[in-house]
């Protein structure tokens, strides 16, 4: 009996050790498995732009010419109803439902990038029941290759200053463009940011950033900010005077303007991190700059807010790229806006 007791203790302890190590190994194995699963998922997410399904809450008209979801109204224009795939209510319903599910997910996707959304009344002055209108065409403005997002606003004079109210956001797509994910992401980025009255080059740069770096489009690419710099006749960076793809001036340079603008915007994001642009928009929002501006934002105003978000003066960066900008203080900006609005009132 005395001889067997130590053996019992040894065997018992061994079992306890075995169970203990087994438990530890299981936990470790589970942890390794969890990490590998996460890594695999991240690898996949890098290869593909995927989105979670959303709850669109779609309302449909009997003819399916107009469908509504949480954030959008989708409209089939007259010319598209003549096309084979859209000439019956059933076909439009199928495409419309699927399209709105996609667009609702894309809305959440772009919301995550910027940190604000059009349905936020504080940011936009966008009436609560208003939605983004998506109009699908066969041809838009005589073209199958031009999608346009427009923001309509109304200016009210309140307590001695002008205040803007957003009355509508409309995205017009030829169906050929609408079927391309990067194009939809590009236009939705405009729908989110148009309210801030950004200079054209910057607004397009931001939209191309979303299109290329988040929606993985390959229509545009980066250029070297110094080697590929182009100047206008005044010796100023040609991107600064760009008035968008519809402008007659700089026509041959349009593709360069997109690429160059995107390269600047991307360079700043790379330097100051993913929160750089959400912070930038938050700062503008705090000053309600967009509501007070009588027209498009001046580049010097833009650089002031970019500098605030970066935490350092970006005037030298832009002057080095031959932008004509001057250093302003917040007070300078507010005084200038007051003067501009005063001139308009007079």
């Amino acid at each position: 009996m005395k001889l067997r007791d130590p053996w019992k203790t040894i065997i018992g302890s061994s079992w306890l050790f075995v169970i203990f190590f087994f438990t530890i190994s299981c936990t470790q194995l589970n942890e390794v498995h969890r990490r590998r699963t996460l890594e695999a998922r991240n690898n996949l997410k890098k290869q593909y732009v995927t989105m979670a399904r959303s709850d669109p809450g779609i309302l449909d008209s009997s003819s399916s010419l107009k469908l509504e979801s949480k954030h959008y109204v989708l409209i089939f224009s007259e010319d598209i109803q003549k096309l084979k795939d859209y000439d019956s209510a059933d076909e439009r319903r199928g495409v419309g439902h699927g399209s709105l599910v996609y667009m609702e997910s894309l809305y959440n996707f772009v919301h995550d990038i910027f940190g604000f959304e059009p349905s936020n009344q504080d940011v936009y002055g966008f009436e609560p029941n208003q939605k983004i209108r998506i109009v699908l065409h066969d041809f838009y403005n005589g073209s199958k290759h031009q999608a346009v997002t427009q923001t309509q606003s109304r200016t009210e004079y309140q307590n001695g200053e002008f205040i803007k109210k957003i009355t509508g956001i409309q995205m017009d797509f030829p169906i050929e463009m609408y079927n391309q994910r990067p194009v939809k992401a590009h236009e939705l980025a405009h729908a989110f940011t148009n309210i801030y009255l950004l200079p054209t080059w910057f607004a397009e740069g931001i939209a191309v950033l979303v299109e290329v770096e988040y929606a993985e489009g390959n229509e545009h690419g980066k250029v070297d900010l110094h080697d590929d710099l182009k100047l206008d006749l005044d010796g100023v960076n040609a991107a600064q005077s760009w008035r968008g793809h519809g402008s007659a001036t700089l026509g041959p340079l349009t593709h360069w303007c997109y690429n160059y603008s995107y390269s600047i915007v991307s360079e700043l994001k790379q330097r100051y991190g993913s929160q750089f642009y959400p912070n930038f928009f938050r700062l503008i929002e705090e000053d309600r700059l967009h509501q007070k501006l009588p027209g498009a934002m001046k580049d010097s105003f833009l650089v002031y807010y970019l500098s605030q978000s970066a935490g350092e003066d970006l005037i030298p960066f832009f002057q080095d790229l031959k932008f004509k900008v001057s250093k302003l203080s917040r007070n300078d900006i507010l005084v200038m806006i007051q003067q501009m609005n005063l001139t308009i009132t007079q």
Binding site: L44, K45, V49, R53, H97, G98, S99, R181, G217
Partner: protein
């Protein structure tokens, strides 16, 4: 005595083997007992979320494979973009053993490949479908595939010919290509199934019930 022991042992071994064999057969025949649709799991994502929303009325589209030749000659890049196939991709929140892929399409997908990904994100083609004529493609995989990512690469749809007629013009011995030559597939649902496991109580949906439910849905439209 020894012989008796051997006989007894053989008998016991046979019983064990038969039991195991029956279980294996049962598992094999459990092909009739499908799991719930993994694509509807919370956290599942797709390159068009309309294909995994569980609603046959919402039709999503496959997305064109973007050309990776951004630095190449512009003409070559454009031609590659025009000829690019399109894909439907589903990513699950965690790997699952997949045995069956069901695709409901609005336009008939005539040719497609099914690919799965490993834990390093490498893709492997596991099935080819050629000359399909149905709107519902029901693909049984020949082996158990444990994966978190499945994609269908669309090779040919019933709409390709019309698109080519629109975008390719012939004349004077030249062929002028002005747009995509492969149509996107219009997919209502992309479903992924495995076999029912013990850890999935209530998840079992028999194939018959599954088909009946689909039929009900279609008839109610």
């Amino acid at each position: 005595m020894k012989l008796q022991e051997i006989i007894q042992l053989t008998f016991v071994a046979s019983l064990v083997l038969m039991g195991a064999g029956c279980k294996a057969l049962q598992n094999f025949s459990a092909g009739q007992e499908w799991s719930s649709n993994y694509a509807l799991m919370e956290g599942a994502q797709a390159n068009d979320p309309a294909i995994i929303d569980g609603d046959l009325k919402t039709v999503g589209q496959t997305q064109y494979v973007e050309s990776s030749m951004s630095g190449e000659d512009n003409y070559v890049r454009t031609m590659a973009t025009y000829a690019a196939p399109s894909e439907a991709v589903v990513i699950l929140p965690e790997p699952k053993a997949i045995h069956r892929v069901v695709i409901h399409s609005a336009n008939v997908i005539q040719m497609l490949d099914i690919w799965i990904t490993d834990s390093n994100g490498k893709w492997e083609k596991v099935k080819e479908v050629k000359s399909n004529k149905e709107n519902k493609i029901d693909i049984r995989l020949t082996r158990t595939i444990h994966t978190a990512g499945v994609r269908a690469r669309i090779r040919k749809t019933v709409d390709d010919a019309a698109l080519r007629r629109k975008n390719v013009r012939r004349g004077f011995g030249f062929r002028q290509i002005g747009g995509k030559t492969k149509a996107q597939a219009k997919i209502a649902e992309f479903e992924l199934y495995g076999f029912v496991t013990g850890t999935e109580p209530g998840a079992a949906v028999s194939e018959v019930k599954d088909d009946e439910a689909e039929l009900d849905l279609l008839l109610s439209q």
